[in-house]
């Protein structure tokens, strides 16, 4: 597949870490609220209300531009994109067209060990429209409700060159982009609707389809896989792929025609007269100085500061939340041990459950578990059990889990009693052992483990047996 697939992405991310919307003072905290409560004359587009640019949003967009190694413009301008839709209260969207805030960047994506550089064409700012709410499904709903809480939410759109070669690569790109935005602390990708993707897909030499409305991380790969196989099937049957815009239906996992080239939208872009061109000349150094440590730098620091392996450092710095989690644990535990448990065990268990680390358990609990492990209260196997039980929400307190699951190692004297008993009950085995049958030793260890219900520490059993056998 890889060679003749051409993919370009337009990724829309809500700058949901901003306090207020793009052009008014309404809060960006609109998730889970009653409909239409987080609105004002500006984001409702009431006649006479005027937009005023949120300077912090411009700063955030510049941060994103810099993190993607873009050129930052000196003068930026907003445009009106004119179209009718009920979720668009002014009948136009305020977006950027000519003079976007940032252009010509790159983002390196790791695909199966090979690092590929994806060119970023532009990064621009725009406002989110409101949200249409259907009763039941879009087909059966008798009416449409509109919720303008989302109207005016600040978005950035990151547009790539058609440099991506596979759906998997596209997913990796989006994950990496998300990670960088979260590093910059401008974006929380875990909120619903925070990320939406349009994808341009074609087979080499064929016409391109634009797929709209991909709104989940997994959806990107699925939508692209579907669309590519659709185009390949057409090619195989000798049917010509036409240039068109297609809609991705997440529930049915397919793409359907939205409009063809002949019905192409006419947006009548023109400069927004209510917002004067904005000079951001001289902003760049200040914003650059305020940039946080980005993944690559953090990876190098982890290796140097904590002595962890490159692989562990890479796994732990991919997501800022994992990196921060690790650092909290490493403060209190041996850093390399902490790395093994965070990068291998915890991250692995999270991936297995498709869970985000923020939905896991706090680092304090990990510190406790590693503490119990260090003082020999639980075994490695016990620690894994505790972690799993926490992630499965069986119980909340590691101490309770250790108790309830009987994970604490058996006391030494209980092991001693068990060993003595086994030696008394198995004279034949002892004789065999003394006669040189090494396997008999393992048999005895097994018997002790049996007696302690497997809770004895095998190493300790081993030691005790040797001691006692030498005496007798």
């Amino acid at each position: 597949m890889a060679d003749d697939v051409i993919i370009g992405l337009e990724v829309h991310c809500q700058l949901n870490k901003l306090k207020s919307k793009l052009f008014c003072g309404c809060s960006t905290r609109q998730q889970g609220l009653e409909p239409n409560v987080m609105t004002c004359p500006v984001c409702l587009g009431l006649p006479g209300a005027l937009p005023v640019i949120n300077k912090k949003a411009v700063e955030y967009a510049i941060m994103v531009g810099l993190a993607l190694k873009c050129r930052i413009t000196e003068h930026t301008q907003f445009y009106r994109k004119n179209y009718y839709y009920p979720d668009l209260p002014r009948g136009f969207q305020i977006t950027q067209y000519d003079y976007p805030i940032a252009t010509d960047g790159i983002l390196a994506v790791d695909t199966d060990g090979e690092e590929r550089t994806i060119r970023i064409r532009r990064v621009h700012m725009e406002e989110d429209p409101g949200r249409l709410v259907h009763q039941g499904s879009i087909e059966t709903s008798k009416f449409v409700l509109v919720d303008y809480n989302r109207s005016g939410m600040p978005l950035i759109e990151v547009v790539t060159e058609p440099d991506l070669r596979s759906p998997k690569e596209a997913r990796r790109f989006i994950n990496k982009l998300r990670n960088i935005l979260e590093y910059l602390d401008v974006f929380d990708g875990s909120l619903e609707g925070a990320l939406r993707v349009d994808a341009n897909v074609s087979l080499k030499g064929g016409a391109r389809a634009e797929i709209k409305n991909i709104s989940s991380y997994k959806g990107v790969e699925r939508a692209l896989l579907f669309e590519i196989s659709r185009q390949m099937n057409m090619k195989r049957r000798g049917v010509k792929v036409v240039q068109e815009t297609r809609h991705y239906d997440d529930e049915r996992n397919c793409t359907v025609t939205l409009r063809t080239k002949e019905q192409a939208e006419e947006y009548r872009y023109y400069p927004e007269p209510d917002l004067v061109p904005l000079s951001v000349k001289g902003w760049e150094p200040g914003v650059r100085a305020g940039l946080p440590e980005l993944p690559d730098a953090k990876r190098e620091r982890f290796k140097a500061q904590y002595g962890v392996s490159d692989n562990h450092a890479r796994v732990m710095t991919a997501e800022i939340r994992v990196a921060n989690y690790y650092e909290r644990v490493a403060e209190k535990c041996e850093p390399r041990l902490a790395a093994t448990w965070v990068a291998d065990c915890l991250k692995g268990e999270l991936n297995y459950r498709d869970m985000d680390i923020k939905d896991a358990f706090p680092p304090e609990k990990m510190i406790y578990i590693l503490g119990q492990l260090g003082t020999g209260v639980i075994t490695d196997k016990g620690a894994v059990e505790v972690i799993r039980a926490l992630l499965n929400r069986e119980m909340g307190d590691p101490k309770d889990i250790i108790l309830a699951k009987n994970l604490a190692k058996v006391e030494t004297d209980i092991t001693k009693v068990a060993v003595a008993q086994v030696l008394m009950e198995n004279e034949i085995a002892i004789r065999d052992l003394r006669a040189g049958k090494i396997q008999a030793f393992n048999f005895l260890v097994g018997k002790v483990m049996e007696k302690t219900n497997g809770r004895a520490d095998p190493a300790e059993v081993n030691l005790l047996l040797r001691e006692l056998l030498e005496c007798t």
Binding site: P41, L44, G45, L46, P47, G48, A49, L50, P51, V52, I53, R80, N82, Y84, P86, P89, R90, G91, F92, F143, V144, V146, E266, R268, Y270, P273, D274, L275, V276
Partner: protein, 460 residues
């Protein structure tokens, strides 16, 4: 004492044949006057009756823009200029009539019926702020706010024999002004004399952070301080392009007489040229229509305003509401603007118009290197008959020939009465450089003090 005068004003309005208002706010005005009388409210405009053009948003008071599509719309917020009026204690008497969405030169396109000229009821008051102009001239308020996109304050000022100022673009906040053409329009004061106009400008001018196009350059300037009788050493430029074909001889004479009068009072004058004037009208209408086509897209009946019939699917419903809610002229401008912004035409029309705009700006910059103010007719002819231009939109557009270049350049202009054609007033406009309000106010004030063209209409 204010209360009594407010009552008298409303008696007059209710007996009036002018149809200057769409909505009256009698209770609020009376309450305000009483509060002033009782010393509970003070301010620069305390107790003064002010009319507000109906495209300026007023909290809790219907705001229609003269359009059916906004019938029933009651805004939840005040325009910045209205907030400033209230802060200074003004008694707002109501919302004045206007051409639908300020698109017109006669106030005939209002859904709420035409306004009539107090000097001749068979004639138009000018537009689009015709309700404001007629109300001020007809003593139905002391002063009024209008908006001027291509002459909409100065035209009715000229036709109704009063004073109107189109301020420098950015001097007055547009927050709460329902946009027709954002890059051109400004709120402007209208009054029976220059002093009142300057006072009203003092109240409404000044930077507003809610309007990104508003500026603070002239903050702190007191326009009333420039009510000075002195034009000695002042150089007046007379742009010859403003006396072209189509200009009524009586208007031309009245304007020249005014210039000669100022010359006698110590001002110099010289003829100058603003060479790109002939392109101004086309450029103006393209820019205004393009912006209007986008500005008016929000009126779909979904959230406010007109909602007729049964709801069907979205496209059918909003198309029907727009078809029923907008008048002819508005539809014409939306369609032309939509066309001109479309792919393939954008460069040919909109971009070209912007280039002409730049050339016109330069014309003015060049002129103001050598002169202090410009003097020209406000309108090429006096008030015309109702219905005279209604069937010929182009001839109506032509009436704006002397006012639109000023909006394209963003410079200020004041129109004051300078004579009569029969009983119909004639206006002269004094145009200043950017933020040149003090100079044009001084010129107009000096002219007003030394002439006698402020006459009440017969029977008033």
């Amino acid at each position: 004492m204010y209360e009594e005068s407010v009552h008298k004003t409303f008696d007059r309005i209710k007996r009036s044949k002018l149809n200057a208002f769409i909505t009256l706010t009698e209770q609020e005005a009376v309450r305000n006057a009483r509060a002033v009388d009782e010393g509970r409210v003070a301010g620069k405009l305390a107790g003064m009756t002010v009319a507000v053009k109906d495209c300026i948003t007023t909290r809790g008071v219907a705001t229609t823009c003269g359009s059916r599509i906004l019938s029933g719309y009651v805004p939840p917020f005040d325009a910045e200029v209205v907030a400033r009026l209230k802060r200074e204690g003004a008694a707002i008497v109501g919302k004045s009539n206007m051409d639908e969405f300020a698109m017109g030169t006669s106030t005939e396109s209002s859904y709420y019926g035409p306004t009539r000229n107090p000097y001749d009821l068979s004639r138009v008051p000018g537009g689009s702020s015709g309700g404001s102009g007629a109300a001020v001239a007809g003593l139905e308020c002391r002063m009024a706010l209008g908006t001027d996109t291509g002459g909409s304050v100065r035209c009715p000022a000229s036709f109704c024999g009063i004073v109107g100022i189109k301020p420098t673009y950015g001097l007055v906040s547009r927050y709460g002004v329902i946009a027709y053409a954002n890059s051109l329009e400004q709120v402007g004061p209208m009054a029976r004399n220059v002093s009142d106009a300057a006072l009203l400008l003092d109240v409404i001018a000044g930077h507003d952070p809610k309007d990104s196009t508003s500026v603070g350059e002239a903050d702190g300037v007191c326009y009333s301080d420039h009510l000075v009788e002195d034009v000695k050493g002042l150089t007046i430029g007379v742009p010859r392009e403003y006396f072209g074909e189509g200009t009524d001889k009586r208007v031309e004479d009245a304007v020249w007489n005014a210039i000669m009068r100022l010359n006698k009072l110590g001002a110099d004058y010289r003829e100058i040229s603003l060479p790109h004037t002939k392109y101004a009208l086309s450029a103006y209408y393209i820019i205004a229509m393009c912006e209007a086509s986008s500005n008016l897209a929000r009126f779909d009946g979904l959230r406010y305003g007109l909602r007729t019939g049964r709801d069907e699917n979205w496209h059918t419903t909003f198309s029907r509401i727009r078809a029923e809610g907008f008048g002819e002229e508005v539809k014409r401008r939306i369609m032309l603007g939509t066309y001109a912004l479309s792919e393939g035409y954008y460069g040919r029309y909109y971009l070209k118009a912007l280039k002409i705009r730049t050339l016109i700006k330069r014309d003015f910059e060049q002129a103001f290197k050598n002169v202090d103010v410009l003097a020209a007719p406000t309108m090429p002819f006096p008030a015309f008959k109702l219905g005279e231009h209604m069937d010929d939109p182009l001839s109506m557009y032509m009436a704006d020939v002397d006012t639109v270049p000023i909006n394209l350049a963003g410079v200020p202009s004041i129109s004051v009465p300078c004579g009569f054609a029969g009983q119909l007033p004639i206006g002269i406009q004094f145009i200043g450089g950017l933020f040149g309000e003090p100079k044009i106010i001084r010129t107009a004030y000096t002219f007003e003090l030394n002439t006698d063209f402020q006459r009440l209409p017969e029977g008033f």
